[in-house]
């Protein structure tokens, strides 16, 4: 079978940006090498490559576990062997925008837990900030090391015909970075010659950059602090990632029960006694990190941790309370925040967002429910959401009632035409919708590895990239120019 045959079912829609092809069907220049490789491979060879990529995940045990009532189901995220390509210029554009955005968001957090100039100046409503469930009163008046509230960020970016758009900032405990690295390892081992010839920028040094970032947060400017990664435990679906990152950092992987606060300092239990911990990369949500301050029923946290933190005896990445900056309502204000704090125009645009708390935008939302995606503020992971075009009239009517009852709890966005990228489906190449989650590190400086976890909606026509609903992953190659 020739490549032309294999692309026989590949449809190009001028309304949807295709990563590989121009709207007229011509291959983008930077994809021609990949296309040639795919031409040279037989169907059997392609299937063998896909099989090898998939098998590498099960052999390496890169899995996530779904716990049912009776038994645990260990799964792998399906990874498509065809990489998504970006050229360095596109990447630099993204990198600048992401750096600018995180800088502004850190300044915003410092401000809302400090003087609150931003609300006093009327840039963002005070009730939106203070009323946000993620706003932590305990953090008021506190300044974290380097002023870094968000040290590790995973931003969801999509591409449309109008360019890149930020869909969501994940500023609490973003996950997925281990998949970025695992995808790279599996795909480059299977497309060896092409990888070498393509001059792909490296992502495998992420662990080193993360270590440098965490070290910069150490109390008292220590240069070689003891770092621990706090995990909710082995039953957490992201446990593989926690373990992987602890290994990359050369840090101890600890659960809450492994840590104690002794005389205002956080220590971990070791076989030779207690040992002081200076920096904690915590993968436990705010609510659970300290039962004496947040949820008292939490068994995942460490009693007294917040006291040690607020005394400056230990650093936490990310700081508690960062969730106020990735709230879905606050999101709509991020471009204004960039202008306010940095005096610059945003380099990366938001997706157009309607705040239902504003009467006119509420009216517009209710009148156009069949065309919009409506999201509940404070929810995440696709919960509490209405995808208007896919909902029944009854579902829309029921949802409209909820919106009318509490408009401030909802935002609306147009249904996005996420860009598409070729995937190997049953021996042929077909376009599938994709998004992109690059990972941004922020300490004394901002560091971003040139790559991302690319999620892909593997079901034909689906826009849902979530792995629990038929989504998979792709490697992202940023090609050196």
């Amino acid at each position: 079978m020739t490549t032309a045959d294999r692309f026989g079912n590949y449809s190009i829609d001028a309304d949807i940006f295709d990563e590989m092809f121009h709207a007229d069907g011509a291959t983008r220049d930077d994809w021609k090498g990949l296309q040639q490789t795919l031409t040279d491979l037989s169907t059997e060879e392609l299937n063998a490559i896909q099989e090898r990529v998939t098998r590498s995940f099960s052999n390496e045990g890169i899995t996530f576990t779904v716990y049912g009532d009776d038994e645990a189901d260990e799964r792998i995220i399906p990874i498509d062997c065809v990489p998504r390509l970006l050229v360095e210029a596109e990447w630099r554009e993204l990198e600048s925008g992401l750096t600018q955005r995180l800088k502004a968001l850190n300044l915003f957090l410092q401000d809302v837990y400090g003087e609150s100039r931003v609300t006093k100046d009327g840039v963002i409503p005070q009730d939106m900030v203070r009323g946000c469930p993620q706003y932590r009163l305990e953090m008021r008046g506190f300044t974290p090391p380097q002023g870094t509230w968000v040290a590790i960020c995973g931003t969801d970016v999509v591409r449309t015909n109008d360019g890149f758009r930020v869909l969501e900032d994940n500023l609490r405990v973003p996950s997925g970075v281990s998949y970025m690295i695992a995808n790279r390892k599996a795909v480059k081992a299977s497309l060896r010659r092409l990888y070498r010839a393509s001059r792909v920028l490296e992502v495998e040094n992420y662990g080193r950059l993360l270590l440098d970032t965490l070290r910069e947060l150490a109390p008292g400017g220590q240069t070689n602090p003891t770092i621990a990664l706090l995990t909710p435990g082995v039953y957490n679906s992201a446990f593989y990632e926690h373990m992987f990152l602890a290994g990359e950092l050369g840090a101890e992987l600890v659960e809450g029960r492994d840590l104690v606060v002794d005389d205002g300092f956080v220590c971990m239990r070791t076989t030779t006694g207690l040992r002081r911990v200076d920096v904690i990369y915590r993968r436990v949500d705010d609510d659970f990190i300290d039962p004496t301050v947040f949820r008292p029923d939490s068994v995942l946290g460490v009693p007294g941790l917040m006291d040690a933190y607020l005394r400056g005896n230990v650093a936490l990445a990310n700081a508690p309370g960062t969730g106020v900056a990735d709230d879905k309502s606050v999101y709509a204000y991020v471009p204004d925040l960039i202008r306010y704090y940095l005096g610059e125009e945003p380099l990366l645009q938001n997706v157009e967002t309607y705040l239902c708390r504003r009467p006119q935008e509420l009216e517009y939302t209710l009148d156009n429910l069949d065309r919009l995606v409506v999201k509940k503020v404070g929810e995440s992971g696709g919960y509490g959401m209405l995808v208007g075009p896919h909902a029944t009239p009854a579902e829309r009517a029921e949802y409209a009632e909820q919106v009318r009852a509490n408009p401030a709890d909802f935002i609306a966005q147009p249904t996005l035409a996420l860009s598409r990228s070729p995937c190997l489906i049953d021996g042929n190449f077909e376009p599938r919708h994709v998004d992109l989650r690059p990972f941004i590190l922020h300490g004394k400086t901002t560091r971003i590895v040139p790559g991302a976890f690319c999620r892909v909606a593997l079901k034909r026509g689906s826009l849902v990239v979530n792995s629990s609903q038929g989504g998979g992953g792709k490697d992202v190659w940023v090609l050196e120019e």
Binding site: N59, V234, M243, R269, T272, G273
Partner: protein
């Protein structure tokens, strides 16, 4: 992890020899083998006891006997029952998930332990263990029963040996290594005392010793060649016991296992509570002295074996209390 894999290794060796016995050993000996395995693991076989009618005790496989047609038919049924029973028992010990000592459970728990401390072991160890685990996920008892059960157990034993070799070649010799070894050799001492006790009990019940049972025992411990070199070809239970318990040069002897336990405990170093660490060291020393100095003059070997098993169990608890649950 070390404990689970040692248990898997021990079980695999016993099951391989039991699978071999199914080919040509008399029915009575086959059942005796199953009883010994179950007794050593302190587990009730599925469906209850494995006692045979007195007339069946010495029954040989039907194909080795010349009988009348009606007699042949009777024994064929008996053999089929033996094989059917053996299938059920082997399945219980190999794939039964509700059996915490089955091969499947040992690998599942060993791998789960490894998963939880993956950053403390080498990537090669994880991969080696994970591949064997995935292999076990893909097969059923019937598959291996129809092909070659002894082949399957031999392969699995080789997988475990590979894992141990990979661990030895790649794991950093930090405390993680020493704790893994500690667990493994405490388990070895416990399993060995359990199996030797089960064999002595089997001898007591049949009021005579079976040479082939004791030979099998030597093979479980990879000790048959060493026995022949040091004691000759005559199988004497006392000499077999002495070799398996006290020989300083036999890799799988209890003496060597307990010497390793002491050594690893020393390598781990003092825990947060010095007094408790000392208590653990004393207990390990006492175990060594039981084997090395009390065993040769003891008139009551079973009692000594029970004491060794009991102290090994206590030592395991003490190590946990000293280093982890403080």
């Amino acid at each position: 992890m070390g404990r689970y894999l040692e248990r898997a290794d021990h079980l695999t060796r016993m099951l391989r020899l039991q699978a071999e016995a199914l080919v040509d050993r008399p029915t009575g000996e086959i059942y005796s083998g199953w009883r010994r395995i179950y007794r050593s693991l302190d587990r009730e076989p599925p469906g209850g006891g494995l006692e045979l009618e007195p007339s069946q005790q010495g029954a040989a496989p039907q194909f080795q006997q010349t009988q009348t047609p009606s007699g042949q038919a009777q024994r064929r049924i008996s053999d089929e029952y033996t094989l059917a029973d053996s299938f059920t028992l082997a399945d219980d010990l190999t794939f039964e998930r509700a059996n915490p000592n089955s091969l499947w459970s040992c690998f599942a728990w060993g791998r789960e332990n490894a998963r939880q401390m993956r950053h403390c072991i080498s990537a090669e160890m994880w991969r080696s263990l994970n591949l064997t685990y995935l292999k076990l996920q893909r097969i059923r008892m019937l598959d291996i029963w129809l092909a070659s059960p002894e082949g399957f157990y031999t392969e699995t034993a080789e997988d475990i040996e590979t894992f141990m070799g990979v661990a030895g070649a790649t794991m950093y010799r930090d405390e993680g290594w020493h704790f893994m070894q500690l667990g493994r050799f405490i388990e070895r001492a416990q399993l060995a005392s359990g199996l030797l006790l089960a064999q002595l009990e089997e001898d007591k019940q049949s009021r005579e010793h079976s040479e082939s049972d004791w030979t099998t025992l030597l093979r479980v411990f990879h000790a048959q060649e060493a026995y022949m070199r040091t004691c000759g070809v005559e199988i004497r239970p006392e000499q077999v016991l002495d070799l398996l318990v006290t020989d300083p040069m036999l890799p799988n002897s209890m003496r060597r296992a307990l010497a390793t336990v002491s050594g690893e405990l020393g390598a781990v170093g003092t825990g947060p509570d010095g007094a408790s660490t000392e208590a653990a060291n004393r207990m390990a020393g006492r175990l060594r002295s039981l084997v090395q100095y009390e065993w040769p003059d003891s008139d009551d070997k079973p009692k000594l074996l029970i004491l060794i098993a009991d102290l090994s169990w206590q030592l395991h608890g003490l190590v946990n209390a000293v280093y982890f649950d403080y």
